[in-house]
């Protein structure tokens, strides 16, 4: 009998039903296909997370750049007189000029520049970190930290002051997806410069070590934080550590992102203190 005899029925012969493969073979085949599909789905997930989300973020950044440029032109800026000791005199008022009881000059109040609040979920600032290649050119910041906000840019927590204002401005960003703006936040060391450009101008901050942050805000003492193994200035906290957004005297910027990379189990937090910018000279005493 030849191979042809077994493979095809002879002309005129009654076709026989194809033999069903054994159960073991069928199970093995099914498991094999399931593994192939699972592998393809996983590969698709990796490609989606690393490249598709970043491509989408880049597209959104292009749109946000236009929004930020518009914001820089249209934002209302109000000068606010601040007396020594941090008392705000009156929003929009000219700094009063007066003399003391015996005719000596009272130091003129300094002027704090305040910009109008941005529209929710709109872009209003650019964050730059010269020591991180990804952020050398800057990443647009939107008002809000909803999931959809953070897909487009870094997000400013609306309940915190705007960057460049007294207090603790908090900005969050993705670590490994959506353009991964804060991918290398763990590399920042004390003294590294962070710049945030708003309608007022560029506000420069210097990264501070944890003990300096605690010295500025004693309420943070005793909080549960972990140091970074990389030796960076940031600290690692639980995802629900909302205390990091609490007020700090002076002008501060707090950046938060996921930690470790490719996991959302913890948060990496970097604190930076204002050192230069339109309001830097005033903010030391303002509150």
């Amino acid at each position: 009998m030849t191979l042809q005899d077994t493979a095809a029925p002879r002309s005129g012969a009654i076709p026989t039903q194809r033999a069903r493969p054994a159960l073991g073979l069928r199970v093995a085949r099914g498991v094999g296909w399931a593994m192939i599909w699972l592998g393809l789905l996983t590969l698709g997930f990796v490609v989606h997370q690393l490249w598709v989300t970043s491509w989408l973020a880049e597209l959104n950044q292009g749109k946000l750049s236009t929004e930020v440029e518009e914001r820089f032109v249209t934002a209302e800026i109000t000068p606010v007189a601040v007396e020594e000791g941090g008392t705000i005199v009156e929003p929009g008022a000219d700094p009063p000029r007066s003399a003391g009881p015996e005719g000596e000059d009272i130091p003129e109040p300094q002027v704090l520049l305040v910009e109008s609040a941005p529209e929710p979920h709109s872009a209003f600032a650019i964050v730059r970190i010269p020591t991180i290649e990804r952020l050398e050119e800057g990443w647009n910041v939107v008002s809000g930290v909803r999931v959809s906000d953070l897909k487009t840019g870094a997000g400013h927590m609306p309940d915190t002051p705007l960057p460049g204002q007294p207090g603790n401005a908090v900005i969050s960003g993705h670590r490994t997806t959506y353009g991964q703006p804060f991918h290398e936040l763990d590399m920042l060391t004390p003294g590294d410069r962070i710049e945030v450009e708003t309608a007022l101008g560029t506000h420069a901050y210097a990264v501070r070590a944890w003990d300096e942050v605690v010295a500025a805000n004693p309420d943070f003492a005793g909080r549960e934080v972990e140091a970074l193994s990389s030796g960076g200035a940031g600290v690692v906290v639980r995802p629900n550590a909302t205390w990091v957004t609490g007020p700090i005297e002076g002008g501060w910027l707090t950046l938060t992102t996921c930690h470790p990379r490719f996991s959302a189990s913890r948060r990496l937090v970097v604190f930076a203190e204002m050192v230069d910018g339109p309001n830097a000279a005033v903010i030391g005493g303002a509150s």
Binding site: L41, Q49, L150, N240, A264
Partner: protein
């Protein structure tokens, strides 16, 4: 994998219409997959770094 050509042959209408249906079905599947990947990534991989 034989279910893919079998499924394609089971689509109604002439060949161009079948191709159009197949493209639409694949596009819908990709969109569903995109949102599924977004959810998994946003929940377990990288939430965006906010504290809440």
């Amino acid at each position: 994998m034989s279910w893919i050509p079998r499924g394609f042959r089971a689509l109604p209408g002439p060949m161009p219409f079948r191709i159009l249906q197949a493209i639409i079905i694949v596009a819908i599947l990709l969109v569903v997959l995109h949102f599924f990947y977004e959810w998994v990534g946003g929940t377990f991989l990288d939430t965006g770094g906010r504290v809440e």
